[in-house]
Symmetry: C2
Subunit: 206 residues, 2 copies
């Protein structure tokens, strides 16, 4: 199977960490989509993902799976090893709840700030921008960091006692915040300590 | 177990349809949260969901599950019957991909239009509004309808051959569009025919 992505971007990073956690990175053929040059907006890529976003997982039968949560569901159920999406109904529910919060409160909020309140990927690729909305989402991203700091004050991982895809999403979201120059408030000690622990996992430190 | 919701709203409707599809509605105790009066913004409810949104599923051990996808994952894995989140790794991935698209391209787009470009639930509850962004999301919602019309031109359901939670989300999204007075273009025949079929399911028609 193939993954179409651009390694340096935050969503591709999420799927690459998931693959490394499962120990199956070498079973994937990676195909580079040159996002900074707008290749993700060209017809060939849009036929794989009409939402024009990387990464896309292409199965051997040609089915294209888009969206990180969906790709991680596939990887987690197709391969053995560590469980990234929860096991019991309750675990699955908590992981999906925290995954959605990690996307909404952090990853997507940072993305909206980056694409709307900064030059982002450049005027030609960005098109319509709404700077006021972008700045508001920056506030929401910082509120999201505060929320996850509070969650991690009495939990080892974002969705409870076990590492999950929600940890990957928060970790990638903080990396995206650094890139977009959103400062992570230094008083969020639990978040910082958790981030240090995650950064030491072989799937991340490589 | 309990569900805190306000029946008339689109996200509560999604979970109620999922419960009816599984045939377990009578196993749930529903607790009304008066959203039009702002009860979802009060401390008692925020302790259950800091994102101040209904519905919330409260398990017997006190765990609160928020976000429709997470609640549906719980319901689908806890109870027997029709499968709403897919079975094989590939089915699971396609359902989650289409669920995310149904939220992003339709449900959330309509929601942003309603809460930002119309009076929504009233000035006191809405707080910050960005009308220009809301209007842009209205355009995205109509583009989303066109996308799902195209998907349904050669597929019986939103995520392939089987009914799934993604159908529920698109169906509820169209209901929300009606409520928010976003016109569904009459040329989207496949979408209209699918909507008629879904409306006849006992889980929807009651």
């Amino acid at each position: 199977m193939k993954i179409y992505d651009f390694e340096e971007l935050p969503n591709p990073a999420r799927v690459r960490i998931a693959l490394a956690e499962k120990g199956v990175t070498d079973q994937i053929q990676f195909v580079k989509v040159n996002v900074p040059e707008g290749e993700h907006r060209k017809p060939e890529f849009l036929s794989k993902n009409p939402s024009s976003a990387v990464p896309v997982l292409e199965l051997d039968d040609g089915t294209c799976i888009c969206e990180c949560t969906a790709i991680t569901e596939y990887i987690d159920h197709e391969f053995d090893g560590i469980r990234l999406t929860g096991q019991s109904p309750k675990e699955r529910a908590v992981v999906h709840m925290m995954q959605r919060r990690a996307e909404q409160k952090l990853m997507d909020a940072v993305g909206t700030y980056f694409h709307h309140a900064t030059p982002g990927l450049g005027a030609e690729i960005e098109g319509y921008q709404n700077a006021e909305w972008g700045e508001k989402e920056k506030e929401n991203a910082v509120a999201g960091m505060q929320y996850f700091d509070s969650v991690l004050s009495d939990s080892e991982f974002v969705a409870g006692d076990n590492f999950s895809m929600a940890d990957i999403t928060v970790f990638a979201g903080l990396g995206f915040a650094d890139f977009a120059k959103i400062e992570i408030p230094s008083e969020y000690h639990h978040l910082a300590a958790w981030r240090d622990r995650i950064a030491k996992r072989p799937s991340v430190s490589g």
